[in-house]
């Protein structure tokens, strides 16, 4: 059996759904963060698949940009989470609700 574009789309959709549900349901900031990364990578997978399918390099190039931005984002985001933990002694989003109106 050959793996076609459909399988890639299904896999990428599943990954994205897992990431989405992770952000929606989990309480731990780090897990939420990992779920976010999962969604980004699901998008990357879909882009690479489409790039291959269309025999064009545009999608592959876009993936590099996303990876770069994601790396930078992780660097900043993790730093924020560390600082938050130092200040609040927690990383649960349930307790991080100071801006509630």
């Amino acid at each position: 059996m050959t793996i076609g574009i459909n399988e890639f789309i299904i896999a990428s959709s599943l990954l994205f759904l897992i990431g989405f549900m992770g952000v929606l349901l989990r309480r731990n900031t780090l897990i939420i963060y990992m779920s976010l990364e999962l969604m980004l990578n699901a998008v990357n997978l879909a882009l690479v698949a489409f790039s291959r399918f269309n025999q064009a390099m545009d999608g592959a190039i876009f993936v590099f940009f996303i990876m770069t931005v994601a790396a930078a984002e992780v660097a900043v985001g993790l730093a924020i989470i560390v600082m938050l933990f130092r200040k609040k002694q927690t990383v649960s989003v349930d307790e991080l609700n100071q801006l509630k109106g």
Partner: protein
């Protein structure tokens, strides 16, 4: 010195005196009378200087005041025969009253404020007299109203005085509103407010004047000269110190309304003049009746002033503005004399003002009583005294033009003699009716001096052919016109008989009816209903109270309701409420959990997507 300099000195001397009194601070009480006196003497001297300098009484000067767009407004002086005559009268009367005030107010702790106000009033009054255009007249017109307000409210710790000062100010404001609109319309019609230019324009094209402009301009006169229906403030204004009543509310300020009419004579149509004539006659008779039901000596004199202003208005309305000026001048002297006499009586009786509680004062205060009686006789028009000449001229002119008015004015003269007779018989004859009157004694020379001077004027000022410096040109002009009328001789005889009959019957009748030094008012005893009717003064005050409380207040309530409900309730509160409800709804979304916000974000994204897709 040139005329402009002297005019400026005359105008600003009292203002400077007033400012100096205010600025010297603590020493004010000691020096105020002296400074005010210096100011008055300064006015008199510079006025005399002006008369010597200016032989012809024809001087105009104006300078630009405000200029915007194509409109330019000017301030300016006019010094003509009418103004000069007024100036002479005001400077003499105000000097007498200032001297009298030094005695009358000697034990008043607020002398400084009083004399500053008095000087300020003189500044304003001189401003009206010297103004050459309507706008400048209006400026000083308002200043006069303001100083009148200040001085009526001198005893501001008394509720009566406070209310009277506000009443005077507000009632005058109503008249002045019409006056101001009249000035604006005049400017619109003529492109200038300079009185000489207007007179010239009217002379060329008489169709320029209209009932509307004339009718609005005389509103100022009706307010300031206290004519019906805005007369209600003048009797109440007697709450001020008596010299103030003499200067402002008898001799000068209320006469300013007549002076204004003389100035704007050319702007008044025949119908407006006829209206003034009937209005004046009505007031002359109406005020005469009202005076019978008053017990306060000053209020009787106030109604007498109203009645005499009515005479001036009546004759002016008949077209003889010169005779109106003549009566204005004679009236100013004898009415100032009467008020100062009343002031002396009140001072001697320890501020007792009710005539029922006086009596027998002739023996105790011979100088005051004699001068007061001479003033009364002048007011009644007894032959040979000043009032005779002007009233005689008024009656002849009335007989010539309108017989109904003549009869009413004769009735007015009879009433004048009646209530003045009641006043002097009750106050000066008989026996003292109260302890205060019993202890009364003649006032000091500083107060009796001005009385004597004014008595001389009250006797002699009617001889207008002997006025110095050729004053009173317009008066002689109108009198000559009268003398050359057909049937002048027979009319003069008629008036002499009727006029003399009026005062003789009035004075003797009141003596017989009221008796000497009576304790209680006989009219009140014999005909209480008639007395109550006269005392009600046609219920004008009640009518105004009804109007303000019931009608105006209702309208204000409706407007206030609209404001509360529509503006405040509906638009302002309603708008705030709407935003508030929206806020409550939106606040539900703010649950304070990151996951929820994430969900809202997702929902929003889907909605946006749906919107973009549709």
């Amino acid at each position: 010195m040139d005329i402009l300099t002297i005019l400026l000195i005359i105008l600003f001397t009292p203002l400077v005196a007033s400012l100096v009194i205010i600025l010297i601070g603590k020493e004010r009480r000691k020096w105020a009378p002296a400074i005010a006196l210096l100011g008055s003497i300064g006015i008199l001297i510079s006025t005399t200087g002006l008369f010597l300098e200016s032989q012809e009484f024809s001087y105009q000067y104006s300078w630009e005041w405000l200029s915007f767009g194509e409109n330019t407004f000017y301030l300016g002086f006019v010094f003509d025969n009418i103004g000069a005559t007024m100036l002479a009268m005001v400077s003499i009367v105000s000097l007498c009253i200032t001297v009298f005030s030094m005695g009358y107010m000697s034990d008043d702790p607020a002398r400084g404020r009083y004399f500053a106000g008095l000087s300020f009033f003189m500044f304003s009054m001189l401003g009206i007299i010297l103004s050459s255009n309507l706008i400048m007249i209006f400026l000083f017109w308002e200043l006069v109203g303001f100083s009148s307000y200040l001085l009526i409210g001198h005893y501001f710790d008394k509720n009566e005085a406070r209310q009277a000062s506000q009443k005077a100010f507000i009632v005058n404001r109503i008249g002045d509103f019409g006056f101001l609109i009249g000035i604006i319309l005049t400017y619109w019609q003529f492109g200038t407010t300079n009185l000489e230019a207007i007179a010239g324009a009217v002379g060329v094209d008489a169709s320029l004047i209209s009932h509307l402009i004339g009718g609005l301009l005389i509103c100022g006169f009706i307010g300031k000269s206290a004519q019906f229906p805005l007369h209600v403030w003048l009797p109440d204004a007697m709450a001020g110190p008596t010299p103030v009543s003499a200067l402002i509310h008898a001799a000068t300020m209320v006469a300013a309304g007549i002076y204004l009419l003389i100035r704007i004579d050319c702007l008044l149509t025949l119908e407006v003049l006829t209206f003034i004539a009937y209005l004046g006659t009505f007031v002359a008779v109406y005020a005469g009746f009202c005076a019978f039901a008053q017990k306060d000596i000053k209020r009787i004199l106030a109604y007498s002033t109203l009645s005499q202003l009515g005479y001036m208005a009546a004759i002016l309305g008949l077209g003889y503005s010169g005779i109106a000026l003549f009566h204005l001048i004679t009236h100013a002297f004898f009415k100032a004399l009467l008020f100062l006499g009343a002031g002396a009586v009140i001072h001697a009786c320890h501020h007792e003002q009710s005539i029922d509680k006086m009596g027998g004062l002739f023996k105790k205060m011979p100088i005051t009583a004699t001068s007061f009686i001479i003033g009364t006789l002048a007011l009644c028009g007894v032959y040979g005294l000043s009032g005779f000449y002007s009233k005689d001229a008024i009656l002849i002119a009335a007989l010539d033009s309108n017989f109904q008015l003549f009869l009413l004015l004769i009735l007015g003269a009879f009433l004048t003699a009646g209530y003045m007779g009641r006043l002097i018989w009750t106050v000066f004859l008989g026996k003292a009716n109260s302890e205060n009157a019993d202890h009364a004694h003649e006032v000091s020379p500083i107060m009796s001096g001005p009385l004597i001077v004014l008595t001389l004027f009250a006797v002699l000022v009617g001889l207008n052919h002997y006025w110095p410096f050729g004053l009173g040109g317009i008066v002689s002009l109108d009198l000559d016109h009268l003398h050359h009328l057909e049937h002048y001789k027979s009319m003069h005889k008629t008036v002499l008989i009727w006029g003399s009959a009026a005062w003789i019957v009035g004075l003797l009748g009141s003596l017989l009816f009221y008796g000497r030094g009576s304790k209680a008012d006989r009219l009140q005893d014999k005909a209480p209903k008639l007395y109550a009717f006269l005392e009600s003064r046609l219920w004008m005050d009640e009518l105004y109270a009804f109007y303000v409380n019931k009608i105006q207040q209702r309208l204000a309530d409706i407007l206030s309701f609209l404001d509360e409900v529509l503006l405040r309730g509906f638009i302002i509160r309603g708008g705030a409420g709407l935003v508030g409800v929206l806020g409550v709804g939106l606040r539900i979304l703010q649950v304070g959990r990151l996951n929820a916000y994430y969900l809202w974000f997702f929902v929003g994204l889907i909605l946006l997507w749906l919107y973009a897709a549709s």
